[in-house]
């Protein structure tokens, strides 16, 4: 019975076209996501000194990478966007994905090593890219399939189990990621993180003042987090709803209704966008990963006739 449940979970639900649509939609999101994550490289002088990294990430220590080289970061970013475009188009798909993974490792490594920042925004995307790399997502809706009939034929022959497990693995990772964050808060700080409104007040206050403060101690920019920080009840609600959202996220894996999933994920997306506006947490575009919770081929099939009608009307 356990075996059957395991097989039903991991190996059913998606087709190779679903994988390909995920590759395209996620890739389009990534084009913008990369910009939001690496824009700081454009604030340094490409001809300037090479900063000696203060806290190199583990793989830089292993490889002996010691400096930020702005020219390399500029070139790496440009190549990253080209590789993402390659993935979207399905042009040498596996190579495009592999290049993306390598460049994300490099660029994120540089960004996080300068003064020892730690950001978690690429964790889910990098796992998604890893599973797309292992999958046959390039065998449908791709330049590779158009140019090579053998690839197209192989794509048509991909069975359901082979197309499903990479997407299910992405879903499991994403759900786990949210669940781990609630575990981490409990392990490091305890229940008080969720029960004491000062946690949220402290965060909002600190973030509201990062652009400076007036003599009265009020922020010089964006008064909203400062106002919200003073509403103790709202801060309690925010802390509690963070717990509910993060602890309850894995339940999405069991939700059969696409509408229910959409509703829940809209709520999570609202949480991320609010965090970006109120606390400058850079997860604003993170919801691009939520494509994994839908069968995008099914969406395409439903939407396609609508666009066909518009096209025929206009012609």
């Amino acid at each position: 019975m356990l075996r059957r449940a395991w097989d039903r979970f991991w190996f059913t639900g998606f087709s190779v076209e679903s994988l390909a649509m995920l590759r395209i939609c996620f890739g389009i999101g990534l084009i913008f996501f990369h910009v939001t994550q690496f824009y700081s490289f454009f604030m340094v002088d490409p001809g300037g000194v090479h900063f000696y990294l203060m806290e190199p990430v583990w793989y830089f220590e292993l490889l002996g990478v010691e400096r930020q080289i702005p020219e390399l970061a500029y070139a790496g970013f440009a190549l990253l966007e080209f590789a993402t475009l390659g993935m979207i188009l399905g042009f040498r798909t596996r190579l495009s994905i592999a290049v993306q993974i390598l460049l994300i490792f490099y660029l994120q490594g540089v960004r996080d090593s300068v003064t020892g920042d730690v950001h978690h925004r690429y964790l889910v995307p990098i796992q998604m890219l890893f599973f797309l790399l292992l999958s046959k997502c390039g065998q449908a809706y791709s330049v590779d399939a158009r140019r090579n009939p053998r690839v197209a034929a192989a794509g048509r022959a991909v069975p359901e189990w082979e197309a499903s497990w990479p997407i299910k693995a992405m879903q499991v990772y994403c759900a786990s990621f949210y669940f781990w964050s609630v575990l981490a808060k409990l392990r490091v700080t305890g229940w008080i993180w969720f029960t004491d409104p000062r946690r949220i007040q402290d965060l909002l206050l600190g973030r509201s003042l990062i652009w400076g403060a007036t003599d009265a101690g009020e922020p010089v920019f964006n008064p909203l987090p400062y106002w919200l920080m003073q509403q103790e009840t709202l801060c309690r609600i925010i802390a509690f709803s963070t717990f509910v959202m993060e602890a309850g996220f894995p339940l999405i894996l069991l939700l059969p209704s696409a509408r229910a999933r959409l509703l829940f994920l809209c709520g999570v997306a609202f949480f991320h966008v609010s965090n970006t506006v109120l606390a400058y947490v850079g997860f604003g575009l993170f919801p691009i990963v939520f494509f994994i919770f839908f069968d995008l081929e099914d969406v395409r099939r439903r939407v396609a006739p609508y666009f066909r009608r518009i096209r025929s009307r206009s012609s």
Partner: protein, 187 residues
Amino acid sequence: MTRSTVNRLLVAWLCVIWGAVLVRSDSFPLTWAPMYSAWEPEEVASNRVVETDVYMRGMLVTRRDGTTGYVGARELNISRDHMYRLFYQRTFGRPPIFYMQATGNIGAVNRWLRGLEEGESHPDDTEFRVFRSLNKTLGQEPDDPGFIVRVQASIEMMYRRFDNLSKIWRDTRVADLRWDESWRERW
């Protein structure tokens, strides 16, 4: 890949990602997702008064030959975010948050894995790292006359009690880091 290979891969992958969570590994691409987890309840909120011009200008440094000057974002060729952390956090002895997250409320097994004694946290070498990064970026070696031997900065802090947010008081916090000649061994 055959189906049984995929099964084996999935089991191995689940063991690895959950293993990272158990041992609190936050080494990309593994994580235990500790973002914003570290917090200590306090009655008083303390915030620095951020002044963009001041932190972008940087720290006042004294060189081995006695000359002084400022070293900031332009001289070090780093972005505003990085300069913010260097000035307000590292110069004031605050190491990256991941050290605190990794060892906060740590259990016996994880303490043993990190070689830490009861009550001990990650060894703090932030000051050394500040001197190493500044000097190496600017091409200075310990015997050079231009080698930075002292780093100073001051910031204004703002305080308020959580039960009376409208009442604010301020003071000034000073950082005064000095090069320790014993660090040459690690240079």
